[in-house]
Each structure stands twice: as C-alpha cells, then as structure tokens.
Subunit: 333 residues, 2 copies
Amino acid sequence: MSLLNKQVLLAQRPTGKIKPSDFNIVETNVPVLANNEVLVKVAHISLDPAMRGWMNAGTTYIRGVEIGEVMRAFAAGIVTASNHPDFKEGDTVAGTMGAQTYAVMQGKHLTKVDATKVPLSWYVGILGMPGMTAYFGLLEKGFPKEGETLLVSGAAGMVGSLVGQIAKIKGLKVIGIAGGKEKCDSLITDYGFDAAIDYKNTDNIAKAIRAAAPNGIDIYFDNVGGEILDAALLNLANHARVVVCGAISQYNEATHSGLKNYMKIISARGTLSGIIVLDYFNRAEECITQLAQWLAAGKIKYKEHTEQGLDRFAEILNMLFTGENKGKLVLKV
Amino acid sequence: MSLLNKQVLLAQRPTGKIKPSDFNIVETNVPVLANNEVLVKVAHISLDPAMRGWMNAGTTYIRGVEIGEVMRAFAAGIVTASNHPDFKEGDTVAGTMGAQTYAVMQGKHLTKVDATKVPLSWYVGILGMPGMTAYFGLLEKGFPKEGETLLVSGAAGMVGSLVGQIAKIKGLKVIGIAGGKEKCDSLITDYGFDAAIDYKNTDNIAKAIRAAAPNGIDIYFDNVGGEILDAALLNLANHARVVVCGAISQYNEATHSGLKNYMKIISARGTLSGIIVLDYFNRAEECITQLAQWLAAGKIKYKEHTEQGLDRFAEILNMLFTGENKGKLVLKV
C-alpha cells in the first residue's frame, strides 16, 4: 500500500506579510522506512512566531528552512509504523516533524509523551516548546523575586499568558500588554494578572506603563519588540532584567527598527538577554512535570485556538501576526 | 584676604556639538568656610565623555547639571584651608570638585590621595573614575576568561586602552577599534593589543571585525555606540557579553540612533549590560591598589594629554568628541 503525504513546502522567502504563494502544498508518497526510522501520523502542528524567522535565509540560532523543504514545525502525533526499538504503533510522540500529514522521523528525534491525562495537542503548546520558552525564559533569564513587578508583552498569547501566571505563582505583581479590550479583560479575569494595558487603545504606552508600575519594572519579558520594547525600557527599575523572547512585531520587517532606548538599560544597571528554548530541551522533563502539576492544581490556565487544514497553512500562520488567535494557535491536521 | 575663584557655569543646554556659548566663565569670591568644609585649590580637571550627558536636562543615572550651576567635573587638588578634622593644608585630594579654580567641599566628599609616588593628575585618570570604569566594567560585567577574544571600541582612549591592557593581563586576545593610523599603531606597539581596526579607513567595520576575530567576539566593550556597536553585534560568539560604557558617538545627537542588531545578542545567547562607575566607588581602593601595582610592574601603560586654561573649557572638552586627544584628556588649571 502506498500512503499519500500532504506537505507544506517553502516556495519562496516572504517579503513583509506571509502570503499563500510563499508555500507550495504538494502530495508525495510516504517512503519505505529505513532502520531506526519511525512513521508518525501528524495530529497537531504548532504555529509559532519563530516560524517567520525560520523562513529567512541564513542561520541565526538555527538555520533557515531551504526553498523546497518542508516547513519546519513542532508537532505531536501517533506512531503508525516503527523500525526503531523504542517506538511501536500507537505511541503518542512529539518532535520537529514539519508541516505535513506524515513524518518519517529518526527515533532519536522523537519524544514519547503521555496523552492519557492531558490532550495530545498540549504537547505542542503548554507542555511543548512555547511552555518551555515561558518557563525557562522567566526562571532562568528573568530571575523573578517575590514582591517584584513584571511586565510582559504579547500577554494574551501562549508564552505571555504563561509567563504572567508563573510570575503570579512566584509572588510578583504582573502587568500585561495586549491588543484589544477582550484580550486585556481576559488577562485579569482568566489569568489573574494585576493590570492590563491595551496598546491599541493607548496614546502613550510608556505613560501607561508608568501609571501601572510607578516604581518601575523589575522584569520585562518581551514578546513583541519594536515600540513597545522601547516604551518598556523607559520604565525599568534599577537592576531590571529585560528578557527578549521574540520580536513578533519585527519579524515581517526587512529592516528591523532599532532599539532606541537601550541606554536606559545601562543607566538602570539592567541587563538584556534572550531565551532560545532549544538550549533547554535537555531539561524538558523538569518543566513538563512542574507545568502539569500547576495545571492539575488549577494554578495556571491554558487556552487553545484550533484551526483545521494544512491547505490554509499561510492564512492560519498569519493569525499570529494580526493577533486574531485567542490562545495557543494549533493546526489540527 | 579675598580669593578669586574662576568658575565654568553651564549657560545653556547644548544642541549638537558643544559650543563655548554653552558655558559662562565667571569670577566670584571664595566664601568663608563653614564647619566641616575644606577649601581645595583645583589642580587637574578630568574631561570625560560622560560630561556631555550631564549637560542634558533631567536625571538618568545621575541628575543633569542645572543652568547656572558650576559644571560637574572630577578633579584633584591641594587643600589650602580646612575646617574638617581629617584634612589639613597641603593634603592632596580628589573628588567631584567641578570646573573651577577653587572648590569648597564637604570633607566627606573628598578622598585623600598619595601623590608622592605617582603624579597627582593620575587620580583623575587611571587611578580615578576612568580607571575604575575600565577595571570594574571589564571584570565585573565582562567576566573575562583566558583564551577568549575581546573587542573594544574607543580603544585609544583612556578607558579603552586600559580595558585592552587588563584583558591582555588576563590572557585574552584583544582587538581594538580606533580612528586613524597613528592611534591604531599605538594600540599594538604601546598597549600590546593583538589587532587594531581603523574605523576611519574601513568600508565595512563588521567585515573587518570578522577578519580579525573569525571565531567571534566573546566580550565587546563598547565606548562609542552607534554603527560600531551594531557592527560588533554581528560578530558575537555564543554567550558573548556586551558591556556598554558610553555612547560617545551618540552624546551629541538629540535623537539616539537605534540599536539595529540587538536580536543578535539573543541569538548568540549573549547579554548586554552596562557599567556605571559610581556604583563601585566604595571599592575604589581595591582598584587603585591593583592598577598601581600593574603600573609599577610596567604591565600597563598610561598616556595623558594635558591642556591648559579654564577659559578654553568648551574647546578642550570637544576634543573628546572629535578624537583629537592623544591619551587621557586632563585640564591643568
């Protein structure tokens, strides 16, 4: 029998906004498995801001996807055939499987996950890369201390909402920046933030931050870059830590707008650093165990936004950049 | 008897380049000393890039000088009268005395210095604030490790040349960026740097850095900001430390040009932080002792560039920004 595999290939490097023509949707036959290979039926594909960077040429913290290559994506799925001793049919697994319906994976590149207690899709979200980004970014780079004030942008997104909730568990005052009343209300009522700033409804973001945090920001967790990052820098408390996770507002710009106020980091005796989640993959278990425990105890909440259809890949991915998604964006295959 | 005191007052806040009309030179009578006050005849005034920032309104890490106030300056001098038990006529002292011929100082704001073994002027340079900036900036923020590569800009200046020399003592490969052949030659022959980049004679600074440090920069000590900082960021090795000391190329600009390549700090898993030397004044003795020992052992070299005349204050201060000074710029009163 010959299985058909629908694949999303990178057709061209986008300039500005991602367009459907930046991808080719093709169907190929699933090849015969070689030794140590595993065939996975992909169930849930994670759509992440970092993907925009992966579509560029060259290597930053990771090499860019090549033209004609399957678009890189984290995913979770079910093993349908295995030539690897550690995996058998029916196993639930997660890994960098790419945007396709079937993935032929080296066994060593797959992680078995337990989908009996939580939905399998959570392993591409809160129990996957974005969850680890929030967890290690805040704890390993932000050094949160009880009583401090944290500001997080992209606060209604997967990473932002989790950063804020972990900070609340650690005893910090948490202020979130998000776009629109609905998202801002959700920060307070759903996620327990102390204050929310609606950047779409604020003339002066720096002033709004100052009003919410008159003594300054001890940790700024940046998910957006650009003007909001610059506004946050104007409000740093002494010894502030600025943790840059992404720069989603900049991903679509050919020339990044500069960080104007970086000297504020210096005068505040602060530091700027970043989180590259790949560096923490060897500590995944520690993170997943802790997050699963907080989830079970009701201390953190998680929302998914599911869309269907590989054919709509570009359109769905773009929702991240327009802010249309409500919760972690997952493509159900 | 009434002593005349020549003072340099801030007349207006400069826009762009500093002009003589930004200062008023006045003569006043030295007042009668109050309790615990000390009268110092100022001998050597330090001219530092940070002064440009002090001329702006508002408070950054330190409040701006007010219009009509004596221009803030570090200086060394000789006590001529004292109402403070710890000081007597003839003592050599250092402190923030301002740009004037006589300073009435609270005793607690003065530090006694030993000018029997080294020139008194050294206490406004290598054994003063700029020396401490280099010492603590490199050691406390740069975390230098043997075998690493350090890049320093403004390398022929007081701070830059000392940073490079301390890094050499610590076993690092040292590359300096300076303007002009004479300065670049001096980096190698006088200060023992491994390589020098003449930014005035280089089309592409980023390329020149890459050629000198093909494996990347572990520590970038920035004295200039602007384009050179951005070029350095393109060449960071993993886990690089960017230490921002000043942004001399930006001090005269009303609107700072942004830091375009800050995301390179993130992808390199690096950090950006700064050095505010005021934070280390309580550790001055440790620094002075160590630097004096290295100087005595011939391990570090120090050059002074002396100019005379308080009346020429603006003109002399401007030499820092045009790069005319050869060595630490000191105004001899």
